[in-house]
Symmetry: C2
Subunit: 136 residues, 2 copies
DNA sequence: GTAACTGCAAAATATTTGCATCCTT
DNA sequence: AAGGATGCAAATATTTTGCAGTTAC
């Protein structure tokens, strides 16, 4: 399926920046911050538009947001078919404390934890921190 | 053990703001943001000093930082005896999407996930999101 | 043609830093 | 007494908003 189709599938108009950012993320195995995208695309697009593209992608279920303890969030492509209504990314994330990269471990599901009475979860985020395969 | 002893245990001088914030957190069952502390303490202390106190407590292993997807981090007391060198908070967190509170589920350990080859984790954060016991 | 998207300026929010003064030890 | 802690001002970092002009459909 082409990039154009992916965007239209999520009810989005096809624009340059959306194609470029989408393509960039598909080729990438790590999550990106806004700052990284800005370095790559600031010659062609405004930084505000990059923020808006990220938020649009989040809303449409193209991306998921990964909070980090460093002040700026990271974003990565959703694996399957998230939408505005249904947004589920139940895989494990890993953050390398050396190269600072965040990778999605799509094959690892978050294990089930029995929550205390009357806690009803509909989402979970599991982030490991340590040395990744390239840095260890 | 008194608050003063707890602070000295972590190589900290005993000052008003440190005592007040420490006491506030001990009495609390949820994680707090800087903004919440500011509302409580801004008459007595400067907002910058609150930031510095949080960072000092983080560094000394009194607090742990909980990144959220809302732009501002939350902080909660460490359970046992974290230090600057050893900082381990391997319990589950729960964020209520209604009341927005973040609680530490100290009794729930993060389950072991077998990471891919050559990934070496030394820390993990697991955050569930949904309705807490009071809101469900 | 029209609603949605983009760029630029500015605002809002979150956090850190410099420095003079004050306080704990 | 000395070094760490605080308050104030200012700087930096991150993200959002308003609006006019442009573009996808």
């Amino acid at each position: 399926m082409t990039v154009e189709h992916h965007l239209k599938d999520h009810d989005l108009r096809v624009t340059d920046i959306r194609k470029r950012i989408y393509e960039y993320l598909v080729d990438l195995d790590t999550a990106v911050s806004h700052a990284e995208l800005e370095m790559v695309f600031s010659n062609d697009f405004d930084r505000v538009t990059i923020y808006r593209t990220l938020n649009t992608f989040l809303d449409k279920g193209i991306l998921h947001k990964i909070p980090t303890d460093t002040g700026s969030a990271k974003y990565a492509l959703c694996k399957d078919h998230c939408t505005t209504e249904e947004h589920i990314d139940d895989h494990v994330h890993f953050k390398c404390s050396k190269c600072e990269k965040v990778v999605c471990l799509h094959d690892l599901e978050i294990p089930n934890v029995k929550l205390p009475e009357n806690f009803k979860a509909n989402n979970a985020v599991l982030m490991y921190e340590g040395l990744c395969d390239k840095c260890s």
